[in-house]
Each structure stands twice: as C-alpha cells, then as structure tokens.
Symmetry: C3
Subunit: 437 residues, 3 copies
C-alpha cells in the first residue's frame, strides 16, 4: 500500500494543463464526433478505456437517447457581407444541438435567435437546446448592440439525425470487488473549469491509480452529463448499488479557488464522511454547500431510486464564479497549480480510503508501550505527541470506529493514525478489518 500513500507518481500541473489545451478546441456536445475525439485523446493516456456507443432511441429510465448532432460550419454575415459571428472562431457561438439553417433574414427575426449577457457584455454565453428543436447563436452583448438593420445571412451546417451517444468507462481492478466511482462529463464545448478540469483530473487520477497498490476496484466514467449518466445507471444500477462504497463527481476542479464540497443527498454516506475529514485536514477553509445547491450528476447518482454514496469535491463551484458557462471559463482560469492541488487532494482521499479500516484493540487496558520501545521511560526520549496519538488510537479502537472516525474523535492526522495503525497491528496490539460504512 506504500505507493498509494505517496504523491511521487502524480502528474504535474503542467502536464495536465497541456492535456486540457489539447482538448479545449474540440466542439463537444451530448453526442457526436467531439465526444469521440475527446475520449480518443483520453484513451491515448488510459489505453484500457473502453468507449461505448448507445444508439439513438435507446430508452434509459425516463429518457431516450436523442439524435446525434454534428456540426461543420456556422456563421452570420452582416448586411455588408462581413462574417461577424463564426463558429470557427469559438464553438460557443452556436447554440448546442442547433438544427441546420441556411437563410437570409432581417435583423428583427435574427434577434429571436441570438443570446447574449447584458451584464457581462464581453463574453460569449453557453446555451443549448437539446430537447427542443431550434437554432441560435451566442455572442458578446457589446457586439450584438452594434448590429444594424438589414438582411443577415445565417448558416449552420450541422446534422441532427439518428446515430449514437458515446461514453467511456475504465475499470481498474483491485484486490476487492468493492468499488470507488469517479464520474465526469464530456459534453461541453470549449470551456475549461466547467468541463475540461473534470476529465483531465479523472484521466490523471486514473493513471496514478493504475500504479498504486490498491484494495479497491476503481471505476471511472466519462459521460455526457445527465443523459449519459442516466444511460450508464440504467445499464449498471444493480451492480453499482451492490459494489460502490464511495463515489465522486469530478467537475469544476481546475481553478485555484477554495475547495467546495457538495454532499450526497443525505450527507451521511461513506463518501461524505471520508471527504469531509480529508477536506477538514487538508483544506480547512473549504466551503460546504447544501445538496439543495446541487447542479451536476449527483442529481442522478443521489436520486431516491438510485441512492449511491456519491459526493463531489470541487474548487469554485458551478454557478458560483462569474466565468461559469461563458467563454471566460477558459484555460487562464484553470491553471497548472489549480489542477495539481486538486489532484493532490483526490490522491489523499484515495490514500484515506485505501488505508481506512475498522480497528479493535487486542489487549485489555493500555498495553505496556515501554517494553516495545513506544513509550518514554524518562521524559523526552520518545515523541510525546506520537505517544498521545498511539494511546488515543488504542482508546478509540473499539471495533466500531475506523481510522476516519478516530481522526474525527481525536483530531490526530489521518496519515499519522494510518501509519500508527500499521505499527500497532505489527506489534499485535490492534486487529483490523476493512471499513465500508
């Protein structure tokens, strides 16, 4: 288990940021070649990634897989023939899932299809229309205000027709069938924190996990948000309910903001307990949100009939930073440092999960630490803080508490308690069994 407790093999922030740069220009949506291309690049780093296609029309719980959308070109030409909005410049310019169009219309009619943000006049907003057939363009409000009356040529060269929904899945087997789930989404066009940070962290976390000695089996899911998650759950719900001990939605995790915690619906799952403790220790100024403020795939994972132990550790939470869902959510907002510090925290969370176990003292009373070289005979020869951690660990090792519980009860650091547990087990003073509750 030593590997699991070292950050040595973690990817650098720069490597992750480079990968985000490679993914950034791709026009992703719920379906289509952008998703395939994205998963293809991830598979170059995680060769075991399995990419699956689910045909249009497939029913999943209450949903049906929609037509596949692919777009080639899209632009608006002003009355003077100037291409004033061009998909080639930024893929946020086109409303996601826009139907094809090739018309010349006057400004008044065009305005019905334009989206901009008066209070953020310099950015392009992100808009989709997945389930209602429509088309539209997004543009900075400042540009929109310059539009003069006249005839505008509008072209969207796109397909919206039966095809499939694409997702990726990676299973990294461990000694146990018990699983830790990570889920992230691959359905947003060129945005960095609210898209790429999730798959990038997932990719490099998975890569690191393949290299550590692990008890758990790890499942990584790269899906389009909502519909992809519903499709995935509808296929594997029984298995997941049986095996998943803790899960995390990876989203908005690449900037340098404070850590944010979105608990599960009950806030009382194993994922919640472990994440709260790791955050309390490593990022004590983290913000805990209410489940009422949820907004990503915990909506699916925590729904009453699914009810998986899934929480989310983020940096600046969706809806809570001004760049959210605009062209300003770019690769200056997501940084190498932001990515790496998030990866660090998730690696510690995995260390904690791997090292966690219910502990039970073996001898009645306190053991005689002195005869084992664990107690100061005359003050100062043994680290008093360490003695205190040993005695507290033994005092709370009552067969109901796991390492995280004992850290909660005593305030000693998880890594200290984990290492001391190993020592005391080796000395025959503790017994253990893996914890999953």
């Amino acid at each position: 288990m030593a590997d699991a407790r070292s950050g040595d093999a973690l990817a650098s922030g720069e490597e992750m940021h480079s990968f985000a740069q490679a993914l950034y220009p791709i026009c992703r949506s719920l379906t289509g070649d952008g998703v395939r291309k994205t998963l293809g690049l991830i598979k170059q780093i995680l060769p075991e990634l399995v990419i699956r296609e689910v045909p249009t029309g497939t029913v999943a719980f209450d949903w049906t897989v929609p037509d596949e959308w692919n777009i080639r070109t899209a632009y608006i030409e002003d009355p003077g023939g100037r291409r004033i909005v061009d998909f080639a410049h930024h893929n946020l310019h086109v409303v996601g899932y826009s139907t094809p169009v090739d018309v010349t219309i006057d400004l008044e009619e065009l305005q019905q299809h334009l989206h901009s943000l008066p209070d953020k006049p310099d950015v392009i907003p992100y808009v989709t229309s997945y389930y209602k057939r429509d088309w539209g363009f997004c543009l900075p409000h400042r540009l929109r205000e310059t539009l003069a009356a006249g005839q505008y040529k509008v072209v969207i060269d796109a397909d919206l027709k039966p095809g499939s929904l694409t997702y990726g899945e990676l299973l990294i087997p461990g000694k146990s069938n018990d699983e830790v789930l990570f889920s992230t989404y691959v359905c947003h066009p060129s945005m960095a924190n609210n898209e790429l940070s999730g798959p990038v962290i997932a990719t490099y976390l998975a890569k690191w996990i393949t290299k550590i000695d692990r008890n758990y089996t790890y499942r990584f899911v790269f899906v389009p948000e909502t519909i992809g998650t519903v499709v995935y759950l509808s296929n594997f719900l029984d298995h997941l309910k049986k095996n998943v001990r803790a899960g995390f939605v990876l989203t908005c995790c690449g900037d340098e903001g404070k850590f944010s915690f979105m608990p599960s619906r009950t806030g009382q799952t194993y994922a919640d307990k472990v994440a709260r403790r790791v955050l309390a220790q490593l990022a004590p100024d983290f913000i805990e949100y209410s489940f009422l403020q949820r907004g990503s795939d915990e909506r699916q994972y925590c729904s009453p009939l699914v009810d998986l132990p899934v929480a989310s550790v983020m940096r600046s939470k969706y809806h809570e930073y001004p760049e959210y869902h605009t062209s300003a959510d770019d690769l200056t907002f997501v940084t190498p440092k932001g990515l790496r510090t998030t990866l660090d925290l998730y690696s510690k969370l995995i260390d904690t999960l791997e090292g966690n176990r219910v502990l039970h003292a073996v001898v009645a009373g306190e053991p005689q630490l002195g005869k084992r070289g664990l107690y100061p005979n005359i003050g100062g020869q043994v680290d008093q803080k360490s003695v205190s951690a040993i005695l507290d660990l033994l005092a709370f090792a009552d067969g109901t508490n796991d390492v995280v519980d004992i850290a909660n009860a005593t305030g000693h650091e998880l890594s200290t308690l984990d290492a001391l547990s190993d020592t005391l087990i080796a000395h025959g003073l503790l017994t253990t069994n893996v914890s999953h509750d």
Copy 2:
C-alpha cells in the same frame, strides 16, 4: 380536496366577534347552566353538536365530578346600604363555586373574603375555589381601598348541590377513521381571550371543516378545563389513542399578539411537526414555549398514561399578557382581526394535514421534465423556481419523507409542494400514501 385549500369559506372576523359578544355575558363555571347556555348557542351554529351530562359523583381517573354550581344574585352592601359590588354588573365579582351566604359582617371579617390586585388596581381579578368550600368577592383594588369600617351586608344566592357536568362533542366524519382533535374549554365567566377565543375559533373552524372535502375525521371537544378533559379522556381514551393522529388545544387565540406554540410533552409528535412547519412558514416570528410553561389541557392530553399527540397554537399565551385572568381580558383585547388571522392559520394547518403524504419517486434518476413541459428548454420559458421545487421534491421523495419533511428539508412552501405533488402524481412521477407520523 380543493376546498380544503381555500380560505374562501372561512367566517369573517366580525362574525366571530359578534358570536363572542353573545357568549360574553354568560356566567360559566365548571358546571351549571352557564355551560349549558354556552353550548346551546354553539349548537345553533353547529347543529350536530352533541351535549352530554355527567352526573355529580362520577369518578374519572383520579377525579370525581363535583356538585353543580348555579348562581342567581350576589352583592355587597356597604354600611350606608349602597350596593358597592354586584354580580349583576360583572360576573367576575364572585369567586367561582362560592357557597351561598346571606350575612351582615364587619369590614375586618369581610376582608378575609375579598380578592384584589394591588399592582393592577383597576381590574377585577378572576378567582375560583372549586374543590374547597368557601365564598368570596373580587373587586378592583382601588375600590377595596375606599371601604370604611362598619357593617356590610353580603349576599350570594347560589346552589352548590348534586347535578351534572356538561360538555359538548362534535364528530365530523372524513374518509378515514384517523382523527384530528380540537379541544377547547367552556368554564370561564366573562373573559375573552382566555375563554371565548377558544370556543369561538373551534366553532367556526368546525363549521368550515364541515364544508371541505376531507380525509380526516375531526373531533371537537368543548369541555370545562381539567375536570371536563379528564372526564372525556376517561371515557374515550382507548379510542383516542387508537385514532388521533394530531390534536390541538384551542385557547388564548383571539388577540392580535404574536403566535405562540406550546409543544406536546415530547415535542416530537406529528402535531408538533406539522404545527412548527406551518408556523415557520406563515408566522415565522412565532414564540415557541417550553412544555414546562404549559398551563391548559395539554396537561391532561400529554400526561404519561394518556400521551396523545396534542400541541397548542395560541396568540398571547396565558400567564404572558397583563390582562390574563382579569376583567381587562375583554372584547377589546380580542378583535375581529385577531380571530380571523388565527382561523386562517388553523385552516392552513388543516390544509397541510389533509395534503400531507409520504412521497416516493417512481423513476430512477431525474425524470425528463422537458418532455412533459415542466422544464425550460431555453432559459426563462418555465419558472426556474418551480423547476427547482420539482427537482427538490423528487430528490427528497424517498418513501420516508412526507410533504412537511420535504418542506423542512428544502425550504419550499407547503402549498407549492402540495400542488406540485398533485401534478407529479398525475404525471406518474410520484406515488404516495397518507402520512401519520
């Protein structure tokens, strides 16, 4: 159930205040014709009211129904022959359950039988001596201080002899045998908040309930306080313990003070849960008292061997307003507005009870609201607040939470959640069963 959710049929404050004026002059006590006359007037509004007589000497739990008391005349004449205190002017002038007397005594002896309040010198206090045979007069302290030495003629023309205790009961059947209980008392002479507000609200709440579509059976009890409640409980305890899901003592509920909440003994019954939520929403500045400050019939309903789920929603609580138990507690303190706003709150409490149900989501994951016209396809077309309420309702509809629990968990309004529950049940997205816990 639409009727239950409308305040249209509620009596006006003026109508209720007029009824209080009609009841005000009657000299009520634990027993006697004042109680009968009061119940007779209530029966004119609630023809189904059943009036019962329980003979003197009847044993009820630890108590025995006392002799019946009726009074005709009572006065004190001063040494000059002036009638300075006269029951005909205010029935608070005579100590309740006074024995008959017709004597001429000197001032010193008379003083042993006088009651006044030095710190409230202008009001007549309310005093009784139910279980110890005695007689006395109550008067403003300012008047008492003017009494000169000399011989006073004292007359109380009253009967205190075997008869019966009288109470009223109204059962309004619903679809279910599960009952909601309202209990109020009819044993105080001319006082308004701490007497008439209770029976007046009870009368008009019952009248409204007869007109609504209802699931619950409603039981209204008009009894003399303590002894009447004990008599009633001793007759029907098994039935009540089996059927009553929530109950409320109606008292001190006609003034315009803040709402007050007296929880049940445990504070954790269904009545407590629903009342707290309704108050939190409709009267968020309400005062929650401790059960240690109880003082009305919750003393009987919540006693350990009775243990019914009975709480009390009041306005200015007994003991807590200066007019309490004096002639100043009159029909200027109780107002049409005070009565009506209390009736409003109780009608909403009944709406909540009627609409409350345990809810369970039917589909795994979030349902696709869009295809049902419940979700904005492009921002702004559907009320986002309503979408949030739908998603929160579904998220917490896990088969353990009822509407009140979901309101507590999410902060959405009870009426919003109730209406959305109907909608989602109609769309096949929720199932339900009535809640009673």
Copy 3:
C-alpha cells in the same frame, strides 16, 4: 435512606487534612513498604480494608508485576563533603525506582543523573524510571546551578528485587449486588493533591458510606496507578463488567480550585450522566475536559476491552496546575476546605445514585392534588414552586426517565425531585424501579 441524604456524618476538613499530614512523609512508589505503610494507616480508619500482595513476575493483561523497590538512604555530597541533596529531607529528591549506587564521580557525569526545572527553579520535580533500570536525583534548578566542578559522592541505598505489589480493597455490601466503584492510587511519594487527596477522600467517603442506609454495594480500590489498576482489572474484570453501574477515579480532589470533570471514553455512561447533573447543580462553573485530556486510571477503566462506566470528578486537574508533579504540590495547596467541599460533592453524588429510580405515573391525566393537600385551593396556600415540581415530575414520569433525567428535563433540583418522588410514591401516584442506565 435518610442517612444517605444527610451530610451530618461527613468527616470534617480538618480531620481529613490531619490524615493527609500523617500520610505525607511516607515514600510511596509502585511497590514497597511505603505502599504497605500507607494502606496500614488507611486500615486503621477502615478496618474492613483487605490488603493483598501480588508477586513480582505475575502477568496481568499486557503487563508484568515488576521487582519491588525499597529505599533506605540517598544523598549527594559535594566536593567539600557537604550533603547537598538528601532523601531524608524530601523523598522527591530520588528518582523513583532508582537502582542502588555508591560512587564518587565528577560533576559532568553527575549531571547525566540530575533532574530540575529551569522554569520552576525553586521546586523539586517528580521523576520515575519504573521500567528502565537507571538512577537519578531531583533538585531545585537554583541549587543545581550552584554546583561547582569536582568529585561528588553519590549514594542510593535501595533494593530492587523480587517481592510483590501491594494494594487495598474494601467492599461495603448494600442491598443490591449492583456496585459503585471508587478507585484511587497510592504510589506517589510526598505530594498532596496528586496523591494524598485521592486516598484521603476515598477513606472518609468509604467511612461515611458504611454508616448510611444503602442500596448499592460500594467497592473502593487503593492501587498503584496503571500497573496496579491493570493487575486489579485482570483479576476481576468479568465481575466488574457484570456489576459496576458507575465508577469514579479519585485524584486531584483536595485543593480549592473549580471542580473538573473527566468523562468516560464515550461520555455517555451512567456515571457521566449522574456526575454531570450533580455538578451542573452544585458546581455549575465546573470545567468539563475532553477524554483526550485523560491522564489517570480512566485510561485503564475505559479502554475498549474493559469499557467500564468510569469517570472522574476532580478539583484542579493533573497537568493543569503549576504545582503538579513537584514539591510545591504540598499540604498548603490541599486544604481542609478543599477536601471537605469535595467530600460534600461526592456524598451528594452518592445521594443521587441512591435516590435515583425510573419513575412511572400511576393515574392517567393529572392527579387531583387538591384532595391530597398538595394543591393550592385558593392561590398562595401551597408553595407554587413545589406544585410546579410535582406536576413536572408527574409529566415526565413516563417509565423511561429516572430522577436525573427528570432533573435534566425540568431544571428542578435533584433533592426536591427525590423527596417529591418519595411523597408521590407514598400517595400512590408514582411507581418506581431502581435505575442503572
């Protein structure tokens, strides 16, 4: 039970302080004649005390009884032949369990065996080396700083060889086999609060208990700390786990500081509940420490495989007062007043344990207190506060609450509730059974 509720028979502070003075000069350690002499003096006050010897080498849980240590003489002579440190002056001068020595060494070598406190330069520190063979002297830092270079003669005339560990046990039988345990230690040399206050309070508390009418059986244990407790537990663990309902470690309980409370490991045992209530009432400014700050034999009694309901009520807690573990912890720090107020509190704690019982109301509804002379017929004739206590007691006497729970719920005083319980039981209004949870 009247005796148990009176402080009359309690020893005076002066009597206890005199006994502490008699015990003070004795050189106690884990083993040896100092312990025997101490137990012998206690047995003069408690003739039923049983003194037991456990041979060196006896295995107890994880520990082995060490060799017995006895010391006769010890001193250091400076190069001028002056006896600058002498065991005869203060037994703290010698490190506990020092091996015999008789050498002349230079100052540099001597310094390796000296202990002093630079930040408390005028006191002799308390140092032991129980499980590592060594020798040493303790002295005021100010004296140490005066030592000049040269040859020092060092003599410790002591035995460290097979013998036995000595402890005392007193069982005071009650009507029930349920036990209350008091444990104190007799292994420190001349220190007052952190040694003598414990055995002195234990001695006089036991003496008082022998004189009261008692339900519980009381067990007093006088042992060397840690090893003695482990030895005791290893012999009687099954019996103790079966019978002990509440236990208390008596230590640091003779000064005049605020009361301190050390809860058990869970903080939720019967001992915790009763002690917290008694403290809340009698010493409301008491300090509750965390079990993480434990430091005496609750470390053994509360260890996971022992898990007895043992807490500790102290005055100035070990580690928390500057005199702790130095020669300044003497009989000016421990006072007659400090001893007596502690004895008072423990006697009240025993009163509470003896009087505590689960109560159940007998009649449904409130009983008619008036016919029993317990209720004011006309205001003011009966103590309203007492009526309120009666009604609250009856209201919470639901067959799950004991007197302590009812005091917690209502705020009425334990002695009031206890006395009223007797009255109401006598009136047939309450039933009871002894409480142990």
